[in-house]
């Protein structure tokens, strides 16, 4: 594998990453610009007189042409300035930063749990294909996919917080104040988030591994002197992980952007709730900033998955993947 190929590959992916972000920024900007609802009106109330309205709009920079506001917005973001929230009177970057400290650890924890549970169960089911264990795991996985995670979250609260009193039912104490309490507050919500993800992972891993078990190179490995189990472990799992890798990327992106319901169930001050409140209060600057941060997280995950693929699958770099 030549190093120049690797460099070209990485540069192309980085360029794609930058273009995606730019396009997303433009789309987000204009979509929110077209939305009905005037932030100045919202702040001053419906009885405000026209003079003070136009004065406030000028003060907020809302009277400039759209493309100019777009340019300034992107330029400022590149310098870490996401603007000032209308409603909360605080820098958007600071508000989002605070919330990310809840949403990111929550998503990462949920992902770790989903992977640690889902992949081994999928492998186990594939190795016992058609047996009782396989059927059992697949029924469980089906149930896991069908159960809504907020409802599962409530069940967890009933069991672990109300009945057993092991963990808090909701709320969040900041990491700086009490790191242990903060971590404990994330356990139940991340379990609730992880359940459907683990179920999907188990199913996909099982299918991928069953497919791989029928491959010729598994027979070769057995011909060399391995048992089926050894051949699957040494040669099958890595090959089966290729389709799973894509899924992991999508799931992580989904978790970061989709924790809103679970955050509401557990009263967690996360990014999802921040956006929800900002939308209902027409705090456009905050909505825009938070949306861009979510898009950044999702595209960065996809970039990471792409680069991982290149490391795992040598065929990708030579363009000969079948």
């Amino acid at each position: 594998m030549s190093a120049s190929r690797m460099i070209i590959f990485v540069l192309r992916r980085l360029a794609g990453f930058a273009v995606t972000l730019l396009v997303a920024a433009v789309v987000v900007f204009f979509l929110l610009d077209l939305l009905p609802g005037d932030p100045a009106q919202f702040i001053l109330g419906i009885n405000a007189n026209p003079e003070s309205l136009s004065q406030l709009r000028a003060q907020m920079g809302l009277d400039a042409p759209a493309w100019q506001r777009l340019f300034i917005w992107i330029w400022d973001m590149l310098h870490g300035d996401f603007g000032q929230s209308y409603t909360q009177n605080a820098p958007v970057a600071e508000l989002i930063g605070e919330r990310l400290w809840v949403t990111l650890p929550l998503s990462i924890l949920a992902m770790i749990i989903a992977t640690a549970v889902g992949l081994p169960l999928g492998i186990l089911a594939a190795r016992r294909r058609g047996k009782f264990l396989d059927t059992g795991i697949m029924v469980l996985a089906q149930t896991g996919i069908a159960i809504p995670n907020f409802w599962f979250g409530m069940l967890l609260v009933l069991l672990f917080a109300v009945t057993l009193r092991w963990l808090p039912p909701g709320g969040f104490i900041s990491w700086g104040e009490d790191p242990v309490a903060a971590a404990r507050a994330l356990v139940l919500p991340s379990l609730a988030l992880a359940l459907p993800q683990a179920s999907i992972l188990a199913r996909v891993m099982r299918t991928a591994l069953v497919d791989v078990q029928g491959q010729d190179f598994i027979r070769t490995a057995r011909a060399k002197g391995m048992t089926m189990g050894e051949a699957v472990w040494r040669h099958g799992v890595r090959n089966a992980l290729l389709p799973v890798l894509t899924l992991l990327g999508l799931q992580f992106a989904f978790l970061v952007a989709g924790t809103i319901i679970v955050e509401n169930v557990f009263y967690l001050p996360g990014l999802g709730r921040l956006i929800f409140t900002a939308i209902s209060q027409r705090d456009l600057i905050l909505v825009r900033g938070a949306t861009i941060v979510l898009i950044l997280a999702v595209t960065a995950t996809m970039l990471a998955i792409d680069l991982l693929y290149a490391l795992v699958d040598p065929r990708l770099l030579s363009g000969a993947r079948q």
Partner: protein
């Protein structure tokens, strides 16, 4: 004492009998060919001998190596396979793990085939023996040519210094010139290492060139077994006669209707493979 003896081997899938009543014996250094059309049961016979039958296959009959029945325990059978039998398959592209450099795959075979004897096998030596260079060891299957891939497979099969080499259509996926080279390599290796060869093919010419004895298989049964020259030279069975006749390639002067208008025209066609990105 036969190196390998198979008696009344049968393989069933449910009620369907894929292989029935097959018996053969193989002596040290002997080269035995199994010839037949696709789906006749030749590959299943090889897989049954090595304990690699697909799921759902039911086997009957006895298989002995050095007069010892092969173990029924999966792990013991796997180890026996690793140490005594080398295998080469039809399609080397799919038979090699796409995510592992071939040197590592051969190295694995060396470790699994290590009998703890005095002679120590090393990767560079094996690569050289099959006509590959050291640098090929660092490559992945997709970075090698078809012939090089099959050489890598052969190196893997030789890693344990097996007594028996089973080659299942090893040249079917290769072009004619490469076929020749690979067959020559197999023949040379069997002679040098005193390996018995079980050669499975649908190609009379390669069986004729390699094997001293041959079995013709049809519908899962041996219809004729004997010296290669005798079976192909004076076939006794109807099926063998048809097989031999079909293999003869003659340019026949045929009268064809006159050529009409152009049906398909190709001009300056180019096919490029863009690097995936």
């Amino acid at each position: 004492m036969s190196l390998l003896s198979v008696e009344n081997l049968a393989v069933h899938f449910g009620t369907h009998a894929a292989v029935a009543d097959i018996s053969l014996s193989l002596e040290r250094g002997e080269r035995f060919g199994i010839i037949g059309e696709s789906g006749s049961g030749k590959t299943l016979t090889a897989l049954a001998i090595t304990g690699l039958l697909p799921e759902g296959a039911i086997m009957a009959g006895s298989i002995c190596i050095d007069d010892q029945p092969v173990p029924t325990n999966e792990r013991a059978m796997a180890r026996l396979r690793g140490k005594r039998i080398g295998m080469v398959f039809q399609e080397p592209m799919t038979a090699l793990n796409p995510l592992m450099p071939i040197g590592d795959q051969i190295g694995e075979a060396i470790r699994l085939g290590d009998t703890g004897g005095v002679e120590h096998i090393e990767l560079p030596m094996l690569l050289k023996e099959v006509g590959l260079e050291n640098r090929h060891g660092q490559r992945y299957a997709h970075q090698l040519s078809g012939g090089q891939r099959q050489r890598a497979m052969i190196a893997m099969a030789l890693a344990s210094q097996p007594d028996i080499l089973i080659a299942d259509e090893p040249t079917s996926a290769l072009d004619l010139i490469t076929q020749r080279l690979v067959l020559d390599l197999i023949s040379e290796l069997c002679t040098r290492r005193q390996m018995a060869l079980l050669f499975i093919s649908h190609d009379l010419k390669s069986v004729g060139a390699l094997c001293s004895r041959v079995a013709v298989v049809h519908n899962g049964r041996f219809v004729e077994v004997g010296g290669t020259g005798k079976v192909f030279g004076a076939p006794q069975q109807d099926y063998t006669r048809r097989l031999v006749a079909a293999a003869e390639f003659k340019m026949k002067p045929v009268t064809r209707p006159p050529i009409g208008e152009t049906l398909l025209e190709v001009r300056g066609l180019t096919r490029d493979y863009r690097q995936g990105g």
